[in-house]
């Protein structure tokens, strides 16, 4: 069946989010296909980060944050009362704007997710999984001799790839990226963009970016957010060549932002 129709990993129906009185996301309807990269662009404060953080319920930490509507991953509502939030977050990994490794060794940074989720039987399996994820994140060659060193000794770009490896090691289905290259130099950025392309083979990736070129380069689908609404959502190629909405066109051509 799934061979014929492109399966949607994430389905969002009439989704609203509120910070207290503030209506941050308005009536979001969007389908994110599996094994694709979906980028969200839009001016600051448009709700794209709020949307991203609603997917793995990181907004639960914020007092007075409320939602209604449906946010479904593989047909299951993320906001269902019976959902186990820790299990949800294991299945939906996250990479943050600033690299945020733990103040631990490189090895222990990756091991953390395996330990808390009890995803290994013995030391051998632990080491294998760590090596594999560091390879997957393209940082193994640079750190393989320094696994016992503090993660803080790595460069910003290496730290961010370490954080990606940390997210990958617990085998999520979806990876959320919140402006993952915003604090990195162009070379590190290029490496991460390359990596994202490779990762979509195994993961569904949702990425927030302030950089329109980045969306054009990496994403299959792009959503343009403004004032808490999705103005336009389409294939990236179409969006950047023949935008269907005047506001989208103005934004991507840099007339406002």
């Amino acid at each position: 069946m799934s061979e014929v129709t492109i399966a949607n990993r994430i389905t969002v129906k009439d989704f609203n989010a509120y910070y207290g009185e503030k209506h941050a996301l308005k009536n979001i309807n969007i389908d994110i296909p599996a094994n694709k990269i979906m980028a969200m662009i839009g001016p600051s404060g448009c709700g794209k980060s709020t949307f991203l953080r609603s997917i793995n319920r990181m907004n639960d930490l914020i007092e007075n944050f409320k939602t209604d509507g449906k946010m479904m991953i593989d047909g299951k509502d993320v906001y269902d009362k019976n959902i186990d939030v820790t299990n949800l977050r294991r299945r939906v990994g996250m990479v943050f704007q600033k690299p945020n490794p733990f103040p631990k060794t490189i090895f222990e940074n990756i091991a953390y997710g395996l330990r808390v989720n009890r995803l290994f039987k013995d030391k051998k399996e632990l080491e294998e999984k760590i090596e594999k994820s560091l390879m997957e994140a393209g940082v193994w060659d640079e750190v393989k001799d320094d696994l016992d060193k503090s993660a803080f000794e790595l460069s910003g770009g290496q730290q961010q790839r370490l954080c990606i490896a940390r997210a990958l090691v617990i085998k999520p289905e979806v990876i959320l990226m919140d402006e993952p290259t915003a604090s990195l130099d162009p070379i590190s950025t290029a490496k991460i963009e390359e990596l994202i392309q490779v990762l979509k083979k195994d993961y569904t990736i949702v990425i927030v970016t302030h950089n329109m070129q980045q969306a054009a380069r990496v994403a299959d689908k792009t959503a343009f957010f403004m004032l808490g609404e999705i103005i336009e959502y389409d294939d990236t190629v179409k969006m950047f060549t023949k935008p269907g909405n005047k506001m989208t066109e103005d934004y991507i051509t840099g007339r406002f932002g």
């Binding site: 793995n56 820790t86 103040p103 617990i170």
Partner: protein, 294 residues
């Protein structure tokens, strides 16, 4: 100290004069602080150092306190502080954890905070009175190590809670978010990420509060301390001698010559003890600040 001020007056510039008057007042205040601390330390030292020697800190008192040493009082103070810590450490740290990480109702948190702050403002003699009525009489522990430790424990709770909260809040939110995003529970995030990274701050607060507990007199006056005992404490229900109370007793009871000198010697020992404890806290703080990488 006044050079700059004189220079400012010569320049006849109003704003410079105002500034230099301000700075001079600040300098005088600092001078007063350092001077009074210096005089205090010097005075206690001059009055007390003659009686302090190895025998003084290892022997039990003899001849109505004027001979022998103050070992039972040192031991008593140590045990009282330790007991206070055993009670206040888990209670205080876990309360701080709850206040910073778990509490969902901000209104309730505010009420608890007001309570804690009020606790910090209660005069220590009131703690003593409470201890007497509650632990000694109502719970029938009697005047003993246990009652005194519990009262001191309650006394230092606000300090421990405050220091722990401050330490917990210095851990970057990014660590917490990373942990949660990996499927860790809030509890795992707390004891695997947040607590280990704030332990030095918590420790500093705890050590400072131990110094406070060691020096308190009023709370143990009616709950734990005794002026004189030949036996060392052998259970939680023993009365104990304690350094601050020993000083108080020597100065207010009896009329033998030499009591004053012993009192100053005891004060010197207590002072050194507290300074060493505080020094330890400063040492840990400096060391952890160097090791910190974020």
């Amino acid at each position: 100290m006044f050079n700059q001020l004189i220079k400012a007056f010569k320049s006849k510039n109003d704003r410079t004069i105002a500034q230099e008057i301000g700075f001079t007042i600040i300098k005088i205040c600092i001078f007063i602080v350092i001077l009074s601390l210096g005089i205090l330390l010097l005075y206690i030292f001059m009055k007390g150092f003659r009686v302090v020697n190895l025998d003084f800190i290892t022997q039990t008192p003899r001849d109505g306190m004027v001979k022998g040493g103050i070992f039972p009082a040192i031991l008593g103070t140590f045990l009282l502080s330790l007991g206070a810590l055993i009670f206040a450490l888990p209670t205080g740290v876990l309360t701080a954890v709850w206040l910073t990480e778990y509490a969902t109702s901000q209104k309730f948190v505010r009420i608890v905070r007001i309570g804690i702050n009020s606790l910090a403002g209660v005069p220590s003699i009131v703690f003593g009175l409470f201890g007497l009525m509650f632990f000694v009489k109502y719970m029938q522990f009697g005047v003993c190590l246990l009652s005194g430790s519990l009262v001191l424990g309650i006394l230092i709770l606000p300090t421990i809670i405050g220091a722990s909260e401050e330490a917990l809040l210095t851990v970057p939110k990014a660590f917490k978010e990373a942990s949660l995003s990996l499927g860790a529970t809030r509890w795992e995030t707390m004891y695997k990420i947040i607590l280990p990274n704030s332990v030095s701050g918590i420790l500093t607060g705890i050590i400072l509060s131990v110094g406070r507990a060691a020096g308190e007199t009023a709370p143990i006056l009616m709950t734990a301390a005794t002026f004189y005992t030949t036996r060392l404490p052998n259970s939680l229900f023993s009365k104990v001698m304690a350094l601050p109370y020993h000083i108080y007793a020597l100065m207010t009871e009896g009329s033998k010559s030499g009591q004053t000198e012993i009192a100053y010697g005891t004060a010197l020992v207590l002072l050194i003890l507290v300074l060493v404890i505080n020094g330890l806290a400063i040492y840990i703080r400096i060391k952890s600040r160097r090791a910190r990488k974020w």
